[in-house]
């Protein structure tokens, strides 16, 4: 959950203009991947996730919603690889099918907070002045909230649907993006390439969108990747409190939360497998974030 906190752009700030960066980006990526097997593994893990999300419904051996009173709480076996839950549903199928929803929630939430946060941050960073002050105070206010409780409050107030979970997760993430982009834009506002673009007759908006903004993306991408994992954990936490996705929809967080009550009675598989899936996904995004950081880190260039 806290992965998004350690990403201030201390080392990951490429202060060079875009033109310099685009030279042999591909070669650089390949170099970094070869240099860093963990990132390579992360990319492989990501593709596993993507395959599960896209084709999980076809791969799943059972209907993830179908209950079966004759096989309740069965331990893992050749028939049910991950066992069955308290109403006889196949845990493997549910874990598999849940991939899509979980990725959906995190991707939607993160893109939403990215779009809103980036817009607000770019405006504040470029124009400054009173807009910047008002916006900064507003973001400070959100940051001052205990974020998880704020998300809980939003979901409790709006009702626990997938959309509202996405909104709540997006809202609590906006300040991180806004601050990051604001700082990056602010840094580049007066840099040579921006001034040059401005002098050659481009409007402020054009300079901001076409010249400055693309340059801020690399450090933000790191944040995005880390945030994806965090968004999944956030949804899982909401489920644990009871404010998650509605049953019977399979979702990792709610499965872990429900299964957690069965661990002490020995039915560990109900929580452990979705827990591992959750860990796998968050792990993937986190490793990916680190890997991306290396890719965008100019110091890594030879």
């Amino acid at each position: 959950m806290s992965s998004d906190l350690g990403t201030a752009s201390v080392v990951a700030t490429p202060t060079q203009p875009a033109s310099y960066q685009s030279q042999s980006t591909l070669a650089h990526i390949i170099y970094v991947l070869r240099d860093n097997p963990v990132t390579l593994i992360a990319f492989i893990m990501l593709s596993v996730l993507v395959v599960c999300a896209l084709f999980g419904h076809w791969i799943a051996p059972y209907d993830p919603l179908a209950t079966d009173s004759s096989s309740i709480l069965q331990p893992p076996s050749s028939q049910h690889w991950f066992g069955t839950d308290n109403v006889g549903r196949d845990v493997f199928s549910r874990v598999l099918v849940a991939t899509r929803l979980d990725l959906q929630i995190s991707i939607m939430a993160v893109s939403l907070s990215f779009v809103i946060g980036a817009t607000l941050g770019a405006i504040a960073g470029y124009w400054g002045g009173w807009i910047d002050i008002v916006l900064s105070r507003f973001l400070d206010t959100i940051m001052a909230f205990p974020l998880f409780v704020l998300a809980m409050g939003i979901v409790a107030a709006l009702g626990n649907t997938v959309e509202n979970i996405i909104y709540a997760t997006a809202i609590i993430n906006i300040p991180f993006y806004a601050r990051l982009i604001r700082a990056e834009v602010n840094l580049r506002r007066d840099s040579g390439f921006a001034v040059a673009a401005k002098l050659s007759g481009n409007s402020d908006l054009r300079v901001l969108v076409q010249h400055i903004f693309p340059n801020t993306l690399p450090p933000v991408m790191v944040q995005v990747s880390l945030n994806l994992g965090w968004a999944i954990l956030n949804a899982a936490g909401l489920s644990f409190i009871g404010l998650g996705v509605r049953p019977p929809t399979p979702e990792w967080g709610i499965m872990v939360a429900e299964g957690a009550n069965f661990i002490v009675s020995g039915e560990w598989w109900m929580a452990v497998f979705p827990g591992l899936a959750l860990m796998f996904a968050v792990f993937t995004f986190n490793l990916l974030g680190d890997g991306l950081r290396d890719i965008v880190d100019p110091r890594k260039r030879k």
């Binding site: 209950t67 009173s69 109403v87 409790a156 009871g242 509605r246 009550n261 661990i263 009675s265």
Partner: protein
């Protein structure tokens, strides 16, 4: 140094919350104080007030009124169905009252108060205290006042302290509900002198004071209370209300996580775990002692709201009743704990309640009934359950959802948080399809029907209205059960309830208690822990 000595001698004495003020007690406890004098219990709920009459006092707090205060009368004890002991609704026993008489016309009840009954501060319990306490219960509003009203206790003028030991209640009409209603937790007797000394013009009933400082005469005193953490009971050695309890102290710990509670009782770190989930009850039965008592006059039901168009058609309601996989639900949600309430005889032949409905799982009949209605193709309906009760509601709802989908009835599950559940289900009565649970404290079927089937009443979450039911409930509510008219009228009520089926009975739930080193647990209708009979094993 004293602290150290007392700590060793007090192994397992539950001294966590004992601060400097209560240390004097610890010092005088004999060094031989055996662990047997002390029990540690866990519960998942929080006690949020020591005064049951206060606005906002939650269910878990009712036990303080039971254990720390006395009432005039109490119920007897009997063997419970399913093992263990239970309160006995059929016998009323003295608690603070030594004896009582009912006048010929049934309108005047006279109580003699035990002369040796004393409050915890040593003051004698007088009729004035009883009067003040009853006046308080009917005046403060909210749940206490409603519950008093059920027994015909409405206005302060009905209560008179004739002298120090004689107390009378004047009724507007005779009712079989009055005496049992005096044995529920609400009409507990408060030390009125202490209370009045702490009352203010804005707070004439000393709500603020009694909220944190009980002033009772009950079997236990509150030694320490930290909401959200624990409550420590300490025995009142001068109790006059009944047999002196076998334990000196009881530590009640609040632990929110059911998994943690289960681990604690299994390992024997606590001696009693109250209200454990059905699943744990089933699985722990061999390891520790588990008592599951079916809750009297209580049912888990599927509510069909008659304001929702498809459910206005009796055939749709019947189709629903035949489409429920009862046995599967009973196993998956109740783990076989409690009593089955389906597959009963077609003809009603007794006033026993809850009773088995004539319905059972039969998809052909369900399709048949649905075919006769205007909704033979099915319909969409939201299916609501309470977040706080998802323990049994969620598996139940899942199985029903899956089964009625075969009738073409598509439902989407909606979990409603606690604060909103009561509003939506009971006050606004706006949930078309929902699970519900109601149990009547006073164990009469007419009382159940009064709350759950009469129009406009709180637990009638189906908005059900039937003129014959209205009339029958009004007639039977205060009627003596010995009256020859009573049984036929009640059986008629059952027939209508099953024919119209606005509430589909699923099963009669059980209250599960696990003990590991404690014995003497007794089930009470209020579903809270009465610790007075507990001893260590």
């Amino acid at each position: 140094m004293n602290r150290k000595i007392s700590r060793r001698s007090l192994l397992k004495v539950g001294a966590t919350a004992i601060t400097a003020s209560s240390l004097s007690f610890l010092k005088i406890l004999p060094a031989s104080a055996a662990a047997g004098d002390v029990l540690v219990t866990v519960t998942g709920q929080t006690i949020n007030s020591l005064d049951l009459h206060r606005t906002g006092t939650n269910r878990a707090s009712y036990q303080v009124a039971v254990n720390v205060y006395d009432r005039l009368v109490s119920f007897g004890t009997k063997e419970a169905v399913g093992g263990g002991m239970s309160y006995d609704y059929a016998t009323i026993e003295p608690e603070l009252a030594e004896s009582w008489t009912v006048s010929e016309d049934g309108l005047l009840l006279t109580f003699k108060i035990k002369s040796d009954a004393k409050f915890h501060d040593g003051k004698s319990v007088t009729a004035q205290d009883v009067k003040w306490s009853f006046d308080r219960a009917v005046s403060v509003g909210g749940f206490p006042t409603v519950q008093m009203k059920a027994g015909g206790l409405i206005r302060p003028e009905q209560f008179t302290a004739v002298d120090d030991v004689t107390f009378t209640i004047a009724l507007d009409k005779p009712s079989k509900l009055t005496l049992p209603d005096l044995a529920v937790p609400i009409p507990f007797v408060i030390n009125s002198e202490v209370a009045k000394a702490n009352a203010t013009p804005e707070d004439p009933w000393a709500m603020e004071y009694l909220h944190k400082t009980p002033a009772g005469s009950g079997a236990f005193k509150v030694a320490a209370w930290k909401p959200g953490e624990q409550l420590i009971y300490e025995r009142n050695d001068d109790w006059a209300g009944g047999e002196l309890p076998g334990i000196k102290r009881l530590v009640l710990r609040e632990v929110a996580s059911p998994a943690t509670r289960r681990a604690l009782i299994e390992r024997g770190d606590v001696q009693l775990s109250f209200n454990i989930p059905n699943k744990d009850a089933k699985e722990l039965a061999g390891e520790v002692s588990v008592i599951s008592t079916p809750i009297e006059n209580c049912m888990h039901v599927l509510g069909l709201n008659t304001t929702f168009e498809p459910f206005q058609d009796p055939d749709v309601r019947k189709a629903m009743a035949y489409a429920i996989p009862y046995e599967e639900i009973f196993q998956a949600a109740a783990y076989g704990r409690g009593e089955r309430l389906w597959g009963g005889a077609a003809k009603v032949d007794s006033t026993e309640w809850p009773r088995k409905s004539p319905y059972e799982y039969d998809m052909d009949k369900a399709l048949d009934h649905l075919g006769k209605s205007a909704f033979s193709k099915g319909f969409d309906v939201p299916f609501s359950i309470s977040l706080g009760l998802s323990d049994w509601m969620e598996p139940t709802a899942l199985l029903i959802q899956e089964s009625i989908a075969k009738l073409g009835i598509k439902s989407e599950l909606e979990k409603i948080p606690g604060a909103n559940w009561r509003t939506a289900a009971l006050v606004e009565k706006r949930l078309p399809l929902h699970l519900d649970n109601f149990g009547g404290w006073l164990n009469y079927p007419c009382y159940y029907f009064f709350w759950a089937y009469q129009h406009g009443h709180l637990f009638n979450s189906s908005n059900y209205k039937n003129d014959e039911v209205e009339a029958l409930v009004d007639e039977t509510l205060h009627m003596s059960v010995e009256d020859p008219d009573y049984a036929p009228k009640i059986m008629r009520l059952f027939e209508i309830a099953f024919e119209d089926i606005p509430r589909i009975p699923l099963w009669q739930p059980a209250l599960n208690v696990a003990t590991n080193g404690a014995q003497g647990y007794e089930f009470w209708f209020h579903r809270q822990l009465d610790i007075r009979g507990l001893t260590s094993a």
